[in-house]
Point group: C3
Chain length 266, copies 3
C-alpha cells in the first residue's frame, strides 16, 4: 500500500504551492523534487489564489509569520478549498506568540485542512486554542499524545500527524503509530517542514485516501532519516546528514518503502 | 574565447547585486563566490540604489514577488541603467499570476536589460505580454523557441537566453545553441536562478561583449551540471548534486571551459 | 577554559532568537544545532518580544534589512535587555546604505549589546557613525584594527569581534588575537553570520564571562574552518566546504577546541 502511494506521487509529479518560512524553503522544494513532485513558493496575497489554482496541493507553514503572509495564507487556503485541493497545515512554533496562536485560530476557522502536522506541543496548543475558541471544555491536562492527535482530528476533520520519537497518524477513527525515523533528524532544521511538504504531494497524488497517503509520507521521511544516518561517516555531521536525507528521498522506491515502512495500527 | 571570459571574471571578481527570491538566495551567492565573483542581496526600496551603486551588475529575479520588492526592483533597475551597469532579468514563473505578468511588463518598460533568461514558457509570456502591451500583433502560436528568443531579443534589445534540454543564446542577430547541461539539473531548485546570477557576473567582467559573456556563463553552468553528475555515487541524490554543481564551478578553469564548452552557431 | 565554554553550551543547549537575513538563515540555524544549541527565526514586530522571552539570547543581523524588520529588531533588543539576555549585533554591510547606517545608529542607541561582530569596514563604520552621532571626534584615519575594535568596545560597552585574516576579540580592556580560521571561509556566504549566531549561544550558556565565551566561539568557528578544509577532496569546492564547516562543529568537542584553539593576549 505504501509502495503504491509513493509510485503514484512519482508518476503524477504534483506541483505543491508552499507558503513557507524563509529558513527552510530551499530544503522543502528540494525534498519535493527528490520525491518526484515539485514546489512553488509564493506568499503575496495579490497572487496566491492564482498560484494555488495551478498547483495540486497547498502547504501552509507558520514559521517566520507576519500579517501580510497571514493574509496570503487565508486567501490561498480558501481558494484551495473551493478548488478541492488538499491543504496541509504546519503550525510551526504556534505556542510561541499570540501572533501565531491567532493566525492558527483564524486559519482553522476559515480553511478546511486535509492534514495538520506538528509536534506534541504544537498540537496541544491547537487543541487548547481551538477548543477555547469554540467554547468547548478542552482537556488541557491530556498526557496522551494519541488522544491529543485524535481530538484535533475529530474537531478539525483533518488527518493529524503528531511527530516525536514515534509518530502518530490519525483521522480520529483509525490511528497509526510510525516507528521510522532517527534521533539525528532533530539536529536538522526543517525536517518537519519537509515532511509537511511531502504530505502535500502524496495526498495530492492519491487524494482518495488522505490517511494512507499521509502515513506513507511519514514512513518515507522517517525511512530516509534512517538511511541517511546509515550513510554517515566519522566526519559527517548534521549538514551532510541534511543532504543525505534528501538524497535518500531521491533514491527511495516503492519496494524499499514497502519493506522499510515500520508502523502499526493502534 | 570562453576561457578568456571565465578568467576575466575570476581576475576582476565583480560584486553582483541580487534582488532575488528567498528560496534560492543562498545558492545564488555561493555560486557567485564559486565563480570568483561575489554577491549581495538587498531588496528594500530605501537602499537598493546605493547598494546597486557599489556593485558592478544587478540581477532581478521575479520569484516570491511582492509589491514592496517590485518597487525596489524598479528603483534598482533604473539606477543601474543610469550607472551603465549590466542588468539581468530572470522572470521566474512569470506566467503564473497577474502580479508577475504586470511586474514584468513594468520592469520591461522602465528598465533596459542587458540579458533576459527564462525557460520557453517564461520567454513566451514575455513575448506575448510585451507585444500586447505595445500593441503589436504577437505570434502567440510560435512553436519555434529559437524564433521566440530572437523575437524577445529584438523587441527588448537584450541578449535572451532560453533554457531547456538545449539552450538558446541570442542577441537577435547572432544565435548560439548550447548543448551543455544534464537532465539532473531539473531536480535542483534554483539552477536557473544561479545561472542568471552568473550571467550578471560574467557580463559585468566583460561588458564589451554581452552576447559572448552570456554564452560563456551558459556553457559554464551546463558543464558544471555535467561534471557534477559525473561525480555522483549510487547514494547521492539531488541534494548532493546541488552541492557538486557549485563545487564544480569552484574548480572550473578556463581550459576546462574551452574544452568542455559545447555550442554551435545557428 | 575554551573547553568548559563549549561543554557548557552543549550541556545547556540554549535557544537563540535570530533576526536574520534570508540568505544565510538556514545555515545559521544548522550551525547552532551543530553546536548543541538551537535557533528560532522570527522577525515580525508583533511577536518578537514573546519569542525573545522564550529564548536565552538574541542575535540581530543587519543583512537584507527593511523598515519592518528594523522595528522588530528594536522591540526585540529592548525586550532582551529588560530580561537580561545577551544580545549580539552583526552589522552586515552597514557601510553600504543610509538605511543600514541609520538602523545601526538607532540600534546602538536603543539596545545594550553584549557582543558586536563585524569585519574591519563594518566596525569602522560603526565607530565613525556612532562617534558622529554622539558628537565625538572619531579617528577616521585609524589604521590599526585593534584600536578600532577597542574604541567600539569602550564606546558601546560590548565585547567587539573584528574578523579578518586574524580575528580580534576585545572588551576594551583585555584583547585577544585569534589565529584560527582558513582563507577558504571567505568563499562561503554566511560564515560570519554563523559565527555571530554561535557567539549568542556561547554567551547565553556562560553569561558570567562574555569575553571568554566570545573568544571560545571565535576559536571554535575558525577551528571548524580549518578542519573542514583539511577534509576537502580534489573535487570539493565551497558548497561541500560549507557543509564540512557545520559538520566539524557537530563533531567538535572540548578537548579538540582546547588543543586547537590558537590565540594570544595582546
Amino acid at each position: 500500500m505504501l509502495s503504491e502511494i509513493l509510485e503514484r506521487n512519482r508518476s503524477t509529479g504534483p506541483l505543491v504551492h508552499c507558503i513557507s518560512n524563509y529558513v527552510t524553503a530551499n530544503d522543502c522544494v528540494n525534498l519535493l523534487l527528490a520525491s518526484g513532485a515539485s514546489g512553488i513558493m509564493a506568499d503575496d496575497a495579490d497572487e496566491v489564489e492564482e498560484i494555488t489554482a495551478m498547483c495540486q496541493a497547498l502547504v501552509i507553514n507558520l514559521g517566520t509569520p507576519n500579517p501580510r503572509r497571514l493574509d496570503a495564507m487565508l486567501k490561498a487556503g480558501k481558494a484551495a478549498n473551493r478548488l478541492g485541493h488538499p491543504v496541509v497545515f504546519d503550525p510551526v512554533g504556534v505556542g510561541g506568540s499570540a501572533l501565531r496562536r491567532e493566525a492558527a485560530a483564524r486559519l482553522l476557522d476559515a480553511v478546511r485542512f486535509s492534514v495538520i502536522r506538528g509536534n506534541a506541543s504544537e498540537i496541544r496548543t491547537l487543541v487548547d486554542g481551538s477548543a477555547a475558541h469554540r467554547g468547548v471544555d478542552a482537556d488541557t491536562d491530556c498526557q496522551d499524545t494519541t488522544d491529543l492527535a485524535r481530538q484535533l482530528a475529530r474537531s478539525s476533520g483533518a488527518v493529524v500527524v503528531l511527530t516525536g520519537a514515534e509518530d502518530i497518524v490519525t483521522d480520529g477513527q483509525r490511528t497509526y503509530l510510525v516507528k521510522n525515523g532517527h534521533p539525528m533528524m532533530r539536529t536538522v532544521t526543517g525536517a518537519g517542514c519537509q515532511l509537511s511538504a511531502l504530505i502535500g504531494a502524496y495526498v495530492a497524488a492519491s487524494p482518495e485516501k488522505p490517511l494512507d497517503s499521509t502515513l506513507a509520507a511519514v514512513c518515507a521521511m522517517g525511512l530516509c532519516g534512517e538511511r541517511a544516518h546509515h550513510r554517515m561517516t566519522q566526519l559527517d555531521g548534521n549538514a551532510s546528514y541534511r543532504n543525505y536525507i534528501i538524497d535518500a528521498m531521491f533514491r527511495l522506491d516503492g519496494t524499499a518503502l514497502e519493506e522499510g515502512g515500520n508502523y502499526e495500527i493502534l
